[in-house]
């Protein structure tokens, strides 16, 4: 049985990673009717920290305290980089809109300024990032001032070690100490998982018992670091309860992916697009796309009964290899849905550097789709493949987001720019919602 939807959507977003979610969110906020296809599981690998840009150029491993300065330098030196195509004001607007939507969905972030913040990782190293969840912001301050601080972890929680953090910090933070606690009710469980503890802490009684376990250990501590598991759906409430119960600033430290902050981010983004009226097909995969002059018809599989979605524009946010937007065989990288040409090294020999840890990264990691100034992927002749097909996020060529630490920035800013372009194309210079 094939069911054909009669509605024609303004936008069909293919992909539900960070870029797909951002595109769906921005499209809905601009009043476009939007359908999103794809599984959001990729976001589970996120740390909750929203990187904009902190390392450029890669060869020098130069760290930037001010991401917009880094972007300005990038625009001069690598004009083909997708982030070099967007002006700073737009990037800032996109980030603010994204973070505001997360805040409304129960996942507040610290106000965005001009500078990157240094955040402790789960192994005690320091990572600069731009958007910091409010539950982690006390850690940024503590890391800057290094007062007496208590780091807590739990027996059986293998993904997080407070001892390792303190040991890595060593002399750089002499007043840091750690304590390993028995999480209430888990005495006989050999292995614990952060997501389950996060859910357990949403129970008021378990939360109170945990706070009571920490209280006698405070000593001279002026801040307390926990693995990021202080609540899941109600993390604001749980975090506030810990700060109130302990009478000190409490901060979370991101755990190894897949982590609780990743799960929170996924839940918040799903809620954000759902409340803005985005139709979702998150169990479906795209089988085919047929373009005609005005619309694209997208065939879905794994959708109950099969379905075809008709949309006036398509945003390809299928990601790179992990998201399977790009697939590689022994010698060639191809785009998985439409078969668009992929910018890539001419032969496999050039995919990788000799040194695996080469700071400049590998050519294969800069493979992807080439686009025009309107975010439309190009065909083999260098022209836009279709006037109503757009591409955003990590599938774009000429960027190595992992090494530049610009993953969220790439996703959010390119989605914002492409959706602005789509709105102009469909409804003229103004937003459909009437905003300039």
């Amino acid at each position: 049985m094939t069911h054909t939807r009669q509605d024609t959507f303004d936008v069909a977003v293919i992909g539900a990673g960070m870029a797909g979610m951002a595109a769906a969110l921005f499209a809905a906020e601009r009043g476009l009717s939007c359908i999103q296809i794809g599984n959001g599981g990729g976001i589970l690998f996120a740390s909750g920290l929203l990187d904009l840009m902190s390392i450029h150029p890669l060869a020098e491993r130069r760290k930037w305290g001010f991401p917009f300065d880094a972007l300005a330098a990038l625009a001069l030196e690598q004009p083909q980089h997708p982030l070099a195509r967007i002006d700073a004001t737009s990037v800032r607007t996109a980030f603010n809109a994204f973070v505001a939507a997360l805040g409304k969905a129960g996942l507040p972030y610290a106000p965005l300024g001009k500078a990157n913040s240094d955040v402790l990782t789960s192994i005690g190293t320091i990572k600069p990032t731009y958007g910091v969840p409010r539950s982690m912001i006390a850690g940024v301050k503590a890391l800057a001032q290094r007062p007496p601080c208590l780091f807590v972890d739990f027996h059986g929680l293998r993904e997080f070690s407070a001892r390792q953090i303190v040991s890595t910090l060593g002399d750089s933070w002499p007043a840091a100490r750690f304590q390993r606690l028995q999480f209430p009710g888990t005495e006989a469980v050999p292995e614990l998982y952060a997501a389950h503890l996060a859910r357990a802490l949403e129970n008021v009684e378990t939360r109170a018992r945990t706070i009571d376990l920490v209280k006698p250990l405070l000593g001279d501590a002026q801040a307390i670091g926990f693995p990021a598991l202080l609540g899941l759906e109600h993390s604001v409430e749980v975090h506030a309860a810990f700060e109130a119960g302990l009478g000190l600033p409490v901060f979370e430290i991101p755990t190894m992916p897949t982590s609780v902050p990743g799960l929170r981010l996924l839940m918040a983004l799903e809620a954000a697009v759902a409340t803005r009226g985005v139709s979702r097909r998150h169990h479906s995969t795209v089988d085919s796309i047929v373009f005609d002059d005005e619309t694209a018809t997208i065939g879905l599989i794994d959708s109950p009964g099969g379905e075809r979605v008709v949309a006036r524009t398509v945003v390809l946010a299928t990601g790179r290899f992990m998201g399977r937007g790009l697939v590689a065989d022994r010698g060639h990288v191809s785009e998985s849905i439409i078969g668009l040409p992929v910018h890539q090294p001419t032969s496999r020999n050039e995919w990788h550097q000799r040194d695996f840890l080469d700071p400049t990264g590998h050519a294969i990691n800069r493979a992807g789709l080439l686009i025009d100034d309107s975010w439309r992927p190009l065909d083999a002749a260098g022209n836009p493949a279709w006037p109503h097909l757009f591409a955003v996020g990590s599938i774009l060529a000429h960027q190595d987001w992992m090494r530049s630490k610009c993953g969220s920035g790439l996703a959010i800013a390119t989605a914002w720019a492409a959706v602005r372009q789509i709105t102009r194309q469909l409804y003229g210079d103004c937003d459909k919602a009437g905003e300039p």
Binding site: N39, G41, G42, L44, F45, E159, G185, A188, V189, P190, E191, Y193, A194, A195, H196, R199, A200, P257, T258, L263, H283, T285
Partner: protein, 563 residues
């Protein structure tokens, strides 16, 4: 038939019927279904029933019982709400049969006493008798037609005695109609009556009466000749008025028998020769007596058990039963089941029953097995293939409760299934999840080492490496798993997390997963599969592993059993 023989047959069959009823009713108080039924004595169950009956009779509960009587028992409201055609058929049988029993069979004690002028050959009795007979016939046909319509893919659970009983019912109806038809057409019966009431059997002398009875009462004289003058008939009518009319209406109102009499007319002489009236009467009466004697032992005992069950439901309403009350109610349910099969056609696992080829999954078959086990017949020769099929049926039930909702006699089937599973577990046939978890996953894997089970079902997902090729061991499945979250210790909690099960499969160590508690405790909530960023069908794999384990570990546990 001599009065003595009649009495012996009547009282004999009545005695068997009553003793049978007593025995069947006694099983309501001594058959044990469910582990909790073993904790109460027969005496406690009797006392509970009597006390319950008394307390309801003298309380406002009586209103509900009366309501249940009229709405559920008399009107058959539950059946009416579910199957209109079968309800109509059932009501036709019930009304027709009751009519026949009251007006016809018990004529000498009821109609004869209540209405002084009663004669079976007068109207409306003649008409009503035919009407009631037709109602029963049509009703049976409708009930059978209703049954044919709902095919479950399996023959319905039936016992030989039920077929015999239906045959007896048919015999009673057919022989009754034939007997009446024959008596209408029989010249011999005519002369017996004239001998008794006019005092002559001389054909010439009775010519006017014969003329009238031949033309208007259907008697098939073979020596009447043609062309009877109206004057002769008028003369016969006068004689008829004096001697016959007070007892005989025109038999045309016996619309079935009269039609049959016309068909049989050419044979009436031969039938008279063969003394058909005598043996048809014997056939009719003996079929009645045998039917009466068999009633308590056949499915038609539901005519007694159902009203009791419905009245008990009416009395109990939403109240909780004590364990003594529950025990009796379950035993009563075994008798009250009509085996109508409505439950089967709504059973959630019906498709699974067809897939497995095991009718023991279906409620109407399960209730027979539950009764057999309660009567110690299921495992009388130990755990055989049949018992394993019954156990499979019992534990595949999802407790969705649709059978209970749908049952036209309001049986609490869900309670019966739970009790039955308890009994099976005690008898050495626990749920697969229980017997699998009695050993560790390692112990099972070791016992599987030396065994090959060629007839085990294929595991297309678990044996295809593409199923796991995208797994990055990211732990999302474990993070979202409620079973892992509620695991309180290693003794009773999960041994392997979903992610570890997937990893073992990736490593080709499938045997080690089969007895794992994760596989068997999986709630099939599909959280893992829904959240897997790589689209691995984690839950589907778990289900497949369970199916495989049920067969492979089952062949270790019950060598030679069906697998």
């Amino acid at each position: 038939m001599t009065p003595a023989l009649f009495r012996i047959a009547l009282y004999g069959s009545l005695a068997i019927c009553l003793l049978g009823l007593l025995w069947r009713v006694s099983t309501w108080f001594h058959l044990r279904v469910g582990p909790d039924a073993c904790n109460v004595t027969v005496f406690q169950r009797l006392i509970t029933a009597v006390r319950g009956a008394v307390s309801v009779t003298f309380s406002r509960g009586l209103v509900h019982v009366l309501r249940a009587f009229f709405v559920d028992v008399v009107f058959q409201n539950r059946l009416f709400a579910r199957e209109k055609l079968r309800w109509l058929g059932h009501q036709l049988i019930l009304t027709g049969f009751t009519g026949l029993v009251l007006v016809h069979a018990l004529a000498s004690v009821l109609a004869g006493k209540l209405s002084p002028g009663y004669q079976p050959t007068l109207d409306p009795y003649m008409f009503l008798r035919n009407l009631a007979g037709v109602m029963v016939f049509v009703g049976i046909a409708m009930v059978f037609a209703g049954r044919r319509r709902q095919q479950t893919g399996f023959p319905q659970s039936r016992r030989p005695i039920d077929a015999i009983f239906v045959a007896l019912l048919g015999t009673i109806l057919v022989s009754g109609f034939l007997l009446e038809a024959h008596k209408i057409a029989s010249p011999r019966a005519f002369y017996r009556m004239t001998d008794q009431f006019i005092g002559t059997t001389d054909p010439e002398e009775l010519k006017p009466l014969r003329a009238l009875w031949a033309s208007e009462f259907g008697v098939a004289f073979d020596d009447m000749g043609d062309g009877i003058e109206p004057a002769v008939i008028a003369e016969g009518r006068e004689l008829h008025g004096d001697a016959c009319a007070s007892c005989h209406a025109k038999p045309t109102s016996a619309f079935i028998s009269y039609t049959a009499a016309k068909v049989l007319a050419p044979l009436s002489g031969a039938l008279d020769e063969a003394r058909a009236d005598t043996w048809l009467l014997y056939l009719h009466l003996f079929a009645c007596f045998i039917g009466l004697a068999l009633l308590p032992f056949s499915r038609f005992f539901h005519a007694v058990a159902d009203p009791v069950s419905l009245l008990v439901n009416g009395a109990a309403r939403e109240r909780e039963f004590s364990s003594a009350g529950r025990a009796s109610r379950r035993a009563l349910a075994l008798d009250a089941c009509v085996h109508c099969g409505l439950c089967d056609s709504s059973c959630s696992v019906g498709p699974l029953a067809r897939h497995l080829g095991n009718p023991a999954l279906l409620p109407s078959h399960k209730i027979v097995a539950t009764g057999a086990h309660a009567r110690r017949r299921l495992l009388s020769h130990g755990i055989g293939p049949d018992a394993l099929l019954v156990s499979e049926g019992a534990f595949q039930c999802t407790d969705c409760g649709r059978c209970t909702t749908r049952c036209p006699v309001g049986l609490d089937l869900a309670d019966l299934w739970e009790a039955g599973r308890g009994d099976l577990a005690i008898a050495g046939l626990p749920a697969p999840s229980q017997w699998v978890q009695a050993r560790s996953a390692f112990a099972w894997a070791e016992s599987l080492d030396s065994r090959s089970t060629p007839d085990a079902p294929s595991a297309p997902l678990a044996s295809d490496r593409r199923t796991f090729s995208h797994c990055v061991q990211c732990q999302t499945c474990t993070n979202v798993c409620p079973v892992v979250a509620h695991s309180i210790d290693t003794e009773h909690g999960v041994d392997l997390t979903p992610q570890k099960v997937m990893n073992l499969l990736r490593l080709g160590m499938l045997d080690l997963t089969l007895g794992s508690r994760m596989v068997w405790d999986c709630a099939t909530c599909y959280q893992c599969q829904e959240n897997c960023p790589e689209g691995v069908r984690v839950t589907d794999v778990m289900c497949e592993l369970r199916g495989l384990a049920y067969h492979r570990l089952g062949s270790v546990r019950n060598p030679g059993g069906p697998s």
